[in-house]
């Protein structure tokens, strides 16, 4: 678990670093700075470049020694193989991508729908032993998935959730909920409670006050939180490989991993599948990048 979170967190800065290095290069940065950033970018991005290259190389170029960096035959066949089965029709990989979309999306929505009101409640109301409760909530994330996956496997088998998308959705939502509550509580704390007080005196109920006046101010925070939850669910591997087995339930990470380990490994297909797997998260994070840093309040309260 901790590894996944770190990945999710560190993935952001890595992506964000490189474009500014290029952009700011034009605005009078020192040569040394540009050089250092360029080196850093190459080091950080080399595996990514390698993956992208492999995904568009002909098979004989993939296995060529020495490796061909520039002069190779470009092909889209690997990407076709990701989505279309060899005999025609939908491939197992494309089903797993669809499963990933469903599982990651649904678990993120669930965690957000439950987590945002919880965060609001913890921020606004006097709750007994609030700190202890919040610590308890967070503590459920201290345990890495590998540690809890066996008991969860046994419980899931009892209630018939093993090898179901619902099972994955529930466990991902449960894992994302503490994070959502903690991160959203920070955002709710930033929104002055007076807006809701004023709204209640205007004649709204507490929930109306929250929905009409606080919630719109939380949208950037919710977007940021949801992206992190989505990235976790999308990338999650351990639960997915233990709790699912059939092709029509399996999500992309175990499905891609499953491509490696036969007598021959189709590296072109693995690389193409990885590129497809990485794209949605990249795009999504890019779309909400300004929300990731945006301030929440617009400043009508003098402090």
């Amino acid at each position: 678990m901790a590894v996944s979170v770190d990945e999710a967190v560190s993935a952001g800065p890595v992506r964000d670093h490189t474009p500014p290095a290029r952009r700011r290069g034009g605005r009078g940065r020192s040569v040394l700075e540009v050089a250092l950033l360029a080196v850093l970018a190459v080091v950080m991005l080399f595996p990514v470049l390698w993956m992208i290259q492999t995904s568009i190389k002909e098979n004989r170029d993939v296995y060529a020694i020495p490796a061909k960096f520039f002069d190779f035959q470009v092909t889209m066949d690997h990407f076709k193989d990701v989505f279309v089965a060899s005999g025609g029709g939908r491939s197992a990989l494309s089903v797993s991508f669809l499963n990933s979309v469903v599982v990651a999306g649904a678990s993120t929505v669930l965690a957000t729908v439950l987590g945002v009101p919880a965060a609001w409640a913890y921020s606004r109301f006097a709750v007994k032993a609030k700190k202890d409760q919040l610590f308890f909530i967070l503590s459920t994330r201290f345990m890495p998935p590998v540690v809890v996956v066996i008991p969860i496997f046994l419980m899931y088998r009892q209630v018939g959730l093993i090898d179901t998308k619902l099972g994955l959705i529930l466990i991902y939502a449960a894992y994302n909920l503490p994070f959502t509550i903690w991160m959203m509580k920070g955002f709710v704390d930033e929104v002055p409670a007076e807006y809701e007080d004023a709204a209640m005196l205007d004649g709204y109920t507490r929930l109306q006050a929250f929905r009409r006046f606080t919630l719109p101010l939380l949208v950037p925070g919710i977007a940021a939180t949801a992206v992190f939850a989505l990235i976790f669910s999308w990338n999650e591997f351990v639960f997915a490989i233990f709790l699912t087995s059939s092709d029509d339930v399996r999500t992309a990470p175990p499905a891609i991993a499953g491509l490696i380990g036969g007598t021959t490994v189709d590296w072109g297909l693995v690389a193409a599948a990885s590129v497809v797997f990485a794209l949605p998260v990249l795009v999504f994070a890019y779309l909400v990048r300004k929300h990731l840093v945006a301030g929440v309040t617009l400043g009508a309260v003098r402090r």
Partner: protein
């Protein structure tokens, strides 16, 4: 109608007892000021009336009806917050319209009401702006308009002028008094500024550490403070308090001075007392039959007057004097005391002993 009554309000935040049995009775149509230093429980009292604070004990009655458990929306009150609490994503117009929208008024009614309010408060040109585009004074007016746009039972105001600069504050003081008079509505107004309290209030309640110290008209609170603390809090410069005791027909100070015993006091001989003297009841320029010897400690010119600090023994007396007065520190002088206007407090309990004889 618009009476507000709270009885025995108690509220603690953790170990802090914010309200410790606050009982207040706000008559219909009055400008009722709750005055106290920060941390006295003023805002908590107001929030309790508004229904924003869950009480440990006590009751809130609105128009004679028990409203203790009612949600804020059901209480029919309007409030101006110290920080204005204008909705940041709404224009000034929408902010003012909000209470009417909550009550599902038609848009023509809303437009008419908002227009009327904006004329009353001179904010016609600001209606399409958002709070971030408004100055402090403008935000304050919009917040006021949002409260005044309805005719609620009572208006609650939580230090609405505190964040304004001095000039604007003085202006708004007059304006609020004018609005109050023209509406004839009940105002409950919280402030830590005694000038606001004395200049605007029909009734003042002085609060300290969650307890009501005194309720009365501004004159009563100033002229007849119920205890030593109220005497010290209300009035500027603060009242001077001298330790003394009565001895026959004399008051003998701890610093060795003597004054004729005021006729009105009934304090028995030897009881530890505090003599309270306001700056305007003392003089270094006139002679009288009761005076204290001291030496000049410092001069504080304030434009229209000068406050003279006179050291009597180890205690400092604040004396009001003409702005033209001069002197050198250390100079000996006599302070004439108007004993008819002096106050005596029990040094132990702090309670006023002046009332009985007057």
């Amino acid at each position: 109608m618009g009476t507000v009554a709270v009885h025995g309000l108690r509220k603690s935040f953790g170990k802090v007892q914010a309200l410790d049995g606050v009982t207040l009775d706000v008559p219909d149509g009055s400008f009722f000021v709750v005055l106290g230093p920060s941390g006295a429980g003023k805002t908590t009292t107001l929030r309790a009336i508004a229904g924003l604070e869950k009480l440990d004990a006590g009751s809130v009655h609105l128009d004679g009806r028990d409203a203790t458990g009612d949600p804020p929306a059901a209480r029919d009150l309007a409030m101006v917050f110290q920080n204005y609490a204008l909705y940041p994503r709404h224009t000034a117009y929408e902010n003012i319209a909000s209470p009417l929208r909550a009550r599902r008024c038609s848009s023509s009614e809303i437009a008419a009401a908002v227009e009327q309010m904006s004329r009353l408060l001179h904010i016609e040109r600001l209606l399409q702006r958002r709070p971030a585009q408004l100055s402090g004074g403008e935000m304050q007016r919009v917040a006021l308009a949002r409260a005044l746009v309805r005719r609620p039972r009572a208006f609650l105001m939580d230090e609405p002028l505190t964040n304004l600069d001095l000039k604007l504050r003085v202006e708004m003081r007059t304006e609020l008094t004018r609005i109050h008079r023209s509406l004839g509505a009940t105002f409950v107004y919280v402030t830590n500024d005694q000038v606001e309290a004395l200049s605007m209030a029909d009734q003042v309640a002085v609060l300290k550490e969650g307890k009501v110290q005194q309720v009365g008209t501004p004159t009563e609170v100033y002229e007849r403070p119920a205890n030593q603390w109220v005497a010290g809090f209300v009035g500027s410069p603060p009242i001077s308090l001298l330790a003394c005791h009565a001895e026959g027909d004399r008051l003998v100070g701890a610093e060795g001075w003597t004054l004729p015993r005021p006729r009105w006091t009934t304090a028995e001989d030897g009881r530890a007392l505090l003599l309270g003297l306001r700056a305007e009841d003392l003089s270094v320029e006139q002679r009288g039959n009761a005076s204290l010897p001291g030496e000049l400690y410092g001069l504080e010119p304030l434009g229209d007057r000068t406050v003279v600090d006179v050291r009597v023994g180890t205690e400092i007396l604040k004396v009001k004097a003409r702005p033209t007065i001069t002197g050198t520190p250390g100079e000996r002088l006599l302070v004439t005391v108007d004993l008819d206007r002096a106050h005596l407090f029990d040094a132990g309990t702090g309670l006023s002993l002046s009332e009985a004889g007057r």
